[in-house]
């Protein structure tokens, strides 16, 4: 192991310990609420989001013709990212009647608008790939 790698790992350990001590010494951060949230953070992506993503990807790969497959998988991935970041806004639990300028938009509508754009792009990309796959089938490959 090179010196650089040893230094990176040692520095990383020190920085983690600083963070952990910081958490433990903070009166406004309770130990159990923190550990619970950290645990959820560790598993939600691996055990909840990722299996769904893989299932959607596998279904798309199995069921769709090749020209449709990649655009649909790309569309699912972008939609998942947008849905994830907008979920707390769509649920709207952060709304406060004394603060009308906080979360001022119609977020379900906003999410639908963004998804409509994403899937319009999927349609355009699919049509393009369909036309290209047909034309490449008609002209025999020269290579």
């Amino acid at each position: 192991m090179t010196l650089l790698r040893r230094l990176l790992i040692a520095a990383g350990l020190v920085v983690i310990v600083i963070g952990a001590i910081g958490v433990l010494r903070s009166a406004s951060v309770g130990f159990w609420p923190y550990v619970r949230f950290l645990f959820v953070s560790a598993v939600y992506a691996d055990l909840l989001v990722m299996p769904l993503v893989l299932l959607a990807g596998v279904l798309a790969a199995r069921l769709l013709p090749p020209w449709l497959r990649v655009p649909v998988q790309a569309g699912l991935y972008v939609s998942a990212a947008v849905a994830f970041i907008s979920l707390p806004l769509v649920l709207g639990y952060g709304r406060d009647s004394s603060l009308p300028s906080a979360l001022p938009r119609d977020y379900p509508r906003g999410l639908l608008i963004v998804l409509a754009f994403v899937w319009a792009a999927v349609v355009v990309a699919s049509v393009w790939r369909f036309v290209r796959s047909r034309s490449s089938r008609r002209t025999p490959a020269s290579t």
Partner: protein
């Protein structure tokens, strides 16, 4: 177990993971740096210096912090996907070193996920699921994430070097993904997330950022509000006819009524209000220069100033105005916003507004101004 179609699984490679890792590492570095800047402005260590100009610098650093944090969502998803089968490798650890490496990875995934989730909840103002004070937990967990990233780079450095310098493996044949196509899609996801939200700080995009937690055009007097007078419990004292602003300095104490303040020389400054939550809005403020007020009680150009709000029981009821901001002619005790009397929710009777500072330090409903540190 579902067998993955070959074209999909073939896309996974050390090169793809390394490229995603570099992008993610850069994004985390931006978040850590901008996040630390925001923390240091609010809790300055001795060596830290934050200037009052350019007036919109904090607007850029904090806007970047939140925008980059949101961009991390699709990046982190792609990165985890690219190594996902390794999660179920059996046995879980070959030896002690490998076991420790995997433990550091678990810490990395947990801390990175924690930062993204708490950040998202905070900009959506949904504090209940956290059960702890956001800023403190987000700050210390950033250290844990940074440390885990350093360890991860240290462990993976040879793979990273090899993957990025080796001859590029040809992309899988057929109609499936290409590596480039996948990276373009990751870029597209980042682009969509960014355009859908960044209008909360880049005003020309406000109309199309349909998922932005804020709209810089919406709010009383055309400016968003983050804390109302009602929730701060200041309404009665702020509207009281006997209201007086107290000035305390080396030469004594002065009490100024709203009429006294209005009779002093008035200045107008165009300064953004910038929230730690990443939104910002342009505004035109009119009022008395802070340095003119402190001079009335013997304050000098080199003095630090402490301002206090009528608000009680809030960690942000006082703020320290460091010397660069205290002496800046643009720093005002504002009485008017966009030419109108300041709305109660914007800090009536008067509030502090200084260039290049987070909104939480732009103290509203001023009660007292003291020359010197608190």
């Amino acid at each position: 177990m579902v067998r993955l179609p070959r074209a999909v699984s073939r896309l996974r490679s050390p090169r793809l993971t390394s490229q995603l890792g570099l992008m993610l590492g850069t994004a985390f570095a931006i978040c850590l740096l901008t996040g630390y800047i925001s923390h240091a402005i609010q809790h300055p260590p001795g060596w830290f210096f934050w200037p009052s100009r350019p007036v919109g610098l904090y607007r850029v650093t904090q806007g970047l912090h939140v925008a980059t944090g949101l961009a991390i969502v699709p990046l982190l998803g792609a990165k985890i996907w690219s190594v996902y089968p390794k999660l179920f490798r059996w046995p879980p650890a070959r030896d002690l070193a490998h076991g420790l490496e995997r433990l550091s990875l678990a810490i990395l995934v947990a801390a990175a996920g924690f930062q993204v989730l708490t950040g998202l909840l905070n900009i959506a103002r949904w504090y209940a699921p956290m059960g702890f004070f956001f800023t403190v937990a987000h700050f210390w967990t950033a250290w844990i994430a940074a440390g885990a990233i350093l360890i991860h780079i240290g462990v993976k450095l040879p793979i990273l070097r090899r993957a990025l310098t080796a001859k590029v493996r040809p992309t899988p044949a057929g109609d499936g993904w290409t590596r480039r196509g996948f990276l373009v899609t990751v870029g597209a996801a980042i682009g969509v997330v960014t355009v859908a939200t960044v209008g909360q700080t880049i005003r020309p995009l406000a109309g199309i950022s349909v998922l932005a937690p804020r709209d810089p055009r919406i709010g009383v007097q055309g400016v968003p509000v983050n804390g109302s007078a009602a929730s701060a419990g200041v309404r009665d004292r702020a509207l009281h006819s006997a209201y007086k602003l107290e000035l305390i300095g080396p030469s004594g104490t002065k009490l100024l009524s709203l009429a006294d303040l209005a009779a002093l020389p008035q200045y107008t400054a165009s300064l953004p209000i910038t929230c730690v939550e990443g939104w910002s809005a342009d505004a035109v403020w009119t009022g008395v220069r802070l340095r003119d007020l402190t001079a009335l009680v013997g304050g000098g150009a080199d003095d630090v100033v402490t301002v206090e709000s009528l608000q009680e029981n809030s960690p942000y009821r006082t703020s320290t105005v460091e010397q660069p901001h205290a002496r800046d002619p643009l720093t005002l005790v504002a009485l008017r916003l966009h030419g109108e009397t300041l709305d109660l929710d914007h800090g009536y009777p008067c509030r502090l507004i200084a260039p290049n500072r987070p909104g939480v330090l732009q103290t509203k409903w001023l009660a007292r101004i003291t020359v010197g540190a608190a």
